[in-house]
Amino acid sequence: MTKRYVMVIDLQVCTGCNTCSVACKQENNLPEGVWWTQVVTLGVNGNDSPAGEYPNLFMDYLPLGCQHCANAPCVEVCPSSATTRTEDGLVIQDPTLCGGCRYCMLVCPFTGVRVFAGETLRYSLPFPTGDNPIVHRPSTVEKCNFCAHRLARGLLPACVEACPMVARTFGDLNDPNSEVSELLRTRPHFQLLVEKGADPSTFYLT
């Protein structure tokens, strides 16, 4: 049976600290302004601001990156085959093939999971960080690849590895013995925008 890699994120424990986001930045040597994952506060006024009225307030965090949809519309529309879906369920964005047309950004139901890298890529350091051999190119679309280069070495994605709250779990949903299968069997969960029919591979435990 083929694999279906999924990410399961426990919103009960996520504190929105963005350690995942920074670990991703480091691992993938992301240029300034480019984030492949980031934690969104579902409040009313930007990050770390709750919704409601004092003192009846609530605040939820939602780590948001490419959802690696099973029916990924981005794969369908990419004219240069830069966006592909692997047999394992990874939606891969290859910057060497990306022509920068941004069709994928338009069809993606999840605004904000892709970034269009600017004409000039800026870095604070004169050497690459992390272990992803990716070469970032200006004017291309950037997004999370589920750390395909790490999976190939038997490692977990950098964000999963780094989360200090252990909110993220990654694995094969087609393997009934995997931790992700166990979590989805036993915990209430949801996917985003199911009505769009994309069948995301990111599940949120609630």
Binding site: G33, D60, Y103, F116, P164, L192, L193
Partner: protein, 983 residues
């Protein structure tokens, strides 16, 4: 979570897709217990289901086998799609993994065996209905993505305020006009106009596409090494183990390192950002000497030899004229390694010179609550409470004035563990903090009124006899007799002037007496078989009352009604809280340092410790009280700073500016700052800059960056980072970790050890640095009872080793021996008689209280928070973190903003009589009306003008056992739009 669902007006609409009538009946029965109105509909055919889906629906409860469908998998996938955000709970006839997996594949949001319905259904429903909020929030986020400050997606769509669909349509039109996407990938050429030198050592030919290729190509085939070290910053969590990848002589990646106890394997976004700090383009690389006036920023690079010679020469001259104590060494907590850290080389140097240095007892910061705990629970216990690893043993966590999920983020897992084990978490905080948002209950108290709540709780616990009477009688001063004439405890020497009772031992004369009901006389507490708690007695002509009675008298006015008026909490909430705290055992009070930043911080510490004592929550697993550090503290590690038993002359940093100005009790002429940002972290910055600094003949700063303190220095010395020199740290928890020098120092940077040793040589005390660092590390290990068994070579090889701590080290006051004058928990403190504060009655804030006249002009309480993206001022220049928190902001409630005509993002001036700061406003419902929240640690370059520390004052409470302490939050300000007011 359920609260929002509860508040819904219309009933929750549920669809049953259930065949068996019995199942339907039991569902109906269980749902009858749901806290809000429900309405359910049944559907037995696909056509019925389809019809119901047309209407508003909140939840689907489905037995996947109920509909007679050939391919139920396909049917449910379609249903899932149709139902959209409506959660679906699958009800399975049997509890097998296969059924559950199939249900998940069908799109069920939760799977439930029929047998679990009675217990599991309602909690799952609450969680899943709560997710509607998330989904709505998510849709809103997507709509607003272009407006968000966060950079994600911002560059994709610039047209603000258009719907996503509209933006998409326009974008597609625009793109189709201007872009003709390359039709074939082969047309693409590798870009050769990269603006930086980021060409990874992988050819385009090898890196064809994603997954396949990165596996084959290693970015680091040549020289990458992974080396273990430990972070040594003072963040609140302390000493995460780091696995550092070094490639080409540079730190290129940081990951969490393993520990014997896997719960300690952790790191944070700041720890990762050391990668950017280490090779930061702004690192200081060479010694600098000031040209021009102090603070002008004109520098001349000079050699180490010249810098050290000149500094030593000036110090020698000052020593000759004003004495060695006029030289102050001010190591702060920015580094906490054994040698290169707060309690390390510079205090050793100061001791050898007879110079002054940071007091290890009176920090002037973080010492108010510990002062109160020290008075109550004994000397040396101020910073002690049960270790964080003991949290999961608590059944109730009362988090009072702290935000550990943010400020102690890598201990938060232990709080979560407690929650998972069933502990209830209650947070008391004016701010709807991250911790409050994760708690079971949040009590939004008015800033500065915590004493009223604590006093009322104590009164309720005593009045209702919810107290642990046995503990109170045996372990607190409650039964001790207090003389009515002078307020002191009645001692043996007072009552039996010409005799002695018991065996004659030194100290017997000072023993305190209780009234023994059986023998009807005053006896030492050791002798008394039946001590009384209440009463008035005359002993040797001296009229006495029990300390307990005095306490009860003192507490009388502090009714829950008064507390309610003052705190803004409801009387019922206060009653419930007191009752719950007294009834739930074990319970722990986690204070951290929020209320420490007030004039009454020590009194709060006393009351918190008393609450723990009166409920018997001391010395037990899962109990305890305090700021959270552990027994076997990680900070003051060794005798290294006291060569040959000599000690530096201690100075409370809070009082230092005053001493520089007044020259009392002795003049200070030179200040050497290391591991810290003195001007940034001390209150009342304008006075420090304008009045104290000009009186200094010499200011030297050793640091990695040109901090705002370094900018005022005469000499700036480039210090090595913890990646560049050898050292070790004691912690976290039971561990000790080695820090190897894993890259060469950048530029001409030198370790603080070298800097101190070179200065010592020039100042005639080179002998205290004659050994090399490794020898001193071995000595420190050998001299500690907990580390004596550890050989440095073993530690170097293993990276982390376990200290030998006494059993039950996680529990403070385990032996119930209290190091107070009476040996008991002292809610009545003789030391405080001259201050009129033997009992911890109400003590008003210095400035920030409603009745203060000053509030007419400065009506807002100014509270100073710690951001999770910085450790004090460290990381304020870390680029990744600056993308997440771009600039300082003043957070205020929208109602306060509206009243002043302030909109989100406006530049505002926050000011009072002492100073001002100009920064952007952030409208935030988390902030109570009547307050403004600022974040500490930003530097002057980050503000439009002024500084947060110019608003604060240096008035500390003189009664504190650990010396006066900064009351950063006991401050009033006003805020106004800054337009046209910028200088």
């Amino acid at each position: 979570m359920a609260a929002s669902t509860m508040q819904q007006q219309s009933p929750i609409q549920i669809l049953f897709i259930v065949h068996q009538p019995g199942l339907r009946d039991s569902l109906a029965q269980v749902l009858g217990g749901f806290g809000s109105p429900l309405r359910w509909t049944s559907a037995n055919t696909p056509a019925d289901v389809s019809q119901v889906l047309e209407a508003q629906l909140d939840l689907i409860l489905a037995d996947p086998f109920a509909l007679d469908q050939g391919d139920s998998m396909a049917y449910y996938k379609a249903l899932r799609y149709r139902a959209g955000a409506t959660p679906l709970i699958a009800l399975l006839p049997a509890d097998t993994p296969d059924y559950r997996d199939a249900a998940v594949q069908m799109g069920a949001n939760y799977t439930l065996a029929w047998s679990e319905i009675a217990t599991e259904l309602l909690p799952a429903m609450e969680r899943l209905l709560g997710r509607k909020r998330l989904i709505n929030g998510m849709s809103k986020h997507i709509e607003n993505a272009a407006d968000l400050g966060a950079p994600v997606g911002a560059s994709a769509f610039n047209a603000a305020n258009l719907s996503l669909a509209e933006r998409s349509r326009r974008e597609i039109e625009r793109l189709s006009e201007h872009l003709s996407p390359p039709s074939r990938a082969a047309d693409m050429q590798p870009a050769n106009d990269l603006s930086s030198s980021h060409t990874a050592p992988v050819s385009q030919a090898v890196f064809l596409r994603g997954l396949a290729l990165s596996a084959a190509a290693s970015i680091s085939s040549d020289t990458a090494r992974i080396i273990r070290t430990a972070c040594n910053l003072n963040c609140g969590s302390h000493f995460c183990g780091l696995n550092v990848t070094v490639r080409g002589g540079e730190v290129v990646k940081i990951e969490a390192a393993d520990f014997p106890d896997p719960r300690y394997r952790r790191l944070c976004m700041k720890g990762i950002s050391h990668v950017q700090m280490q090779a930061h383009p702004d690192r200081l690389l060479t010694p600098l000497k000031r040209k021009g006036k102090r603070g002008e920023g004109e520098w001349e690079p000079i050699s180490w030899e010249r810098a050290l010679d000149e500094i030593a020469e000036k110090m020698r001259a000052l020593r000759a004229e004003f004495g060695a104590e006029s030289l102050v060494f001010l190591p702060y907590s920015g580094q906490l390694s054994a040698l290169n850290g707060m309690n390390g080389v510079y205090l050793r140097l100061a001791a050898a010179l007879g110079a002054s240095g940071t007091s290890l007892r009176e920090y002037g910061i973080d010492s108010a609550i510990p002062s109160g705990i020290e008075d109550t629970l004994g000397a040396g216990s101020g910073y002690q409470s049960n270790h964080f690893t003991d949290l999961p043993n608590s059944r109730l966590l009362l988090i009072w004035g702290g935000n550990p999920a943010q400020s102690h983020m890598n201990w938060w897992n232990f709080f979560l563990e407690a929650k998972r084990a069933g502990a209830r978490m209650v947070t008391i905080d004016p701010l709807f903090s991250l911790t409050a948002s994760k708690s079971d209950e949040w009590l939004p108290i008015r800033p500065g009124t915590d004493l009223f709540l604590a006093l009322a709780m104590l009164r309720l616990i005593i009045e209702n006899n919810w107290m642990d009477r046995d503990f109170v009688l045996r372990h607190t001063v409650a039964p001790l007799l207090v003389r009515e004439d002078n307020g002191e405890f009645l001692k043996v020497r007072d009552a039996y002037r010409n005799a002695w009772i018991g065996r004659s031992q030194n100290g017997d004369q000072a023993r305190c007496l209780v009234w023994d009901a059986e023998r009807e006389k005053a006896l030492s507490s050791q002798e008394a078989k039946s001590p009384v708690l209440s009463g008035q007695y005359v002993v040797a002509g001296i009229s006495c009352r029990t300390a307990f009675d005095l306490l009860c008298d003192m507490l009388k006015p502090y009714t829950p009604e008064l507390a309610s008026t003052k705190t803004g909490l409801e009387t019922g909430q206060i009653l419930r809280l007191a009752r719950e705290y007294a009834a739930t055992k074990p319970a722990r009070i986690v204070t951290l340092y929020g209320i420490d930043r007030w004039n009454h911080g020590a009194t709060f510490g006393r009351l918190a410790a008393m609450l723990a004592a009166f409920t018997g929550n001391l010395g037990v697993r899962g109990g305890g009280v305090g700021v959270g550090a552990s027994p076997g503290s990680t900070l003051s590690a060794s005798e290294f700073p006291t060569p040959n038993g000599r000690r530096h002359r201690p100075i409370n940093p809070l009082l230092l500016p005053e001493q520089i100005i007044s020259e009392k009790p002795y003049p200070i002429k030179s200040v050497f700052v290391a591991f810290g940002n003195w001007i940034n972290q001390l209150p009342d910055q304008n006075r420090l800059l304008r009045e104290a600094l000009p009186e200094l003949d010499l200011l030297v700063v050793a640091d990695h960056f040109m901090t705002e303190t370094a900018r005022y220095a005469d000499y700036v010395l480039p210090a090595a980072t913890f990646f560049e020199r050898e050292d070790m740290v004691k912690g976290p928890g039971p561990y000790v970790q080695y820090q190897p020098a894993l890259v060469a120092p950048r530029g001409e940077c030198r370790s603080d050890f070298e800097i101190a040793a070179e200065l010592a040589k020039r100042l005639g005390c080179g002998d205290v640095f004659e050994k090399n660092p490794r020898e001193y590390l071995a000595e420190i290990l050998a001299s500690g009872a907990d580390t004596r068994h550890i050989a440095l070579d073993d530690l170097r090889a293993q990276g982390v080793m376990e200290r030998r701590l006494p059993p039950e080290w996680e529990v403070a006051h385990r032996d119930l021996q209290f190091n107070t004058p009476s040996g008991r928990v002292e809610f009545y403190v003789e030391r405080l008689l001259p201050f009129g504060r033997a009992l911890p009655g109400y003590e008003a804030p210095l400035e920030a209280f409603a009745e203060n006249e000053l509030a007419a002009r400065y009506p807002l309480v100014c509270l100073m928070e710690h951001s999770r993206y910085r450790v004090h001022s460290t990381f304020s220049n870390a680029p990744w973190l600056r993308e997440l928190e771009t600039e300082p902001r003043a957070a205020i409630h929208p109602s306060e903003a509206e009243r002043r005509g302030i909109a989100e993002g406006d530049l505002v001036r926050v000011y009072n009589e002492r100073g001002q700061v100009v920064l952007r406003a952030h409208l935030n419902q988390a902030v109570p009306p009547g307050a403004v929240y600022l974040s500490q640690g930003w530097q002057s370059v980050d503000f439009q003008d002024g500084h947060t520390q110019s608003l604060t004052h240096a008035r500390g409470n003189p009664a504190n056992a650990l010396g006066p302490n900064s009351s950063f939050s006991d401050v009033l300000v006003e805020i106004e739009k800054a337009e046209g007011r910028l200088p």
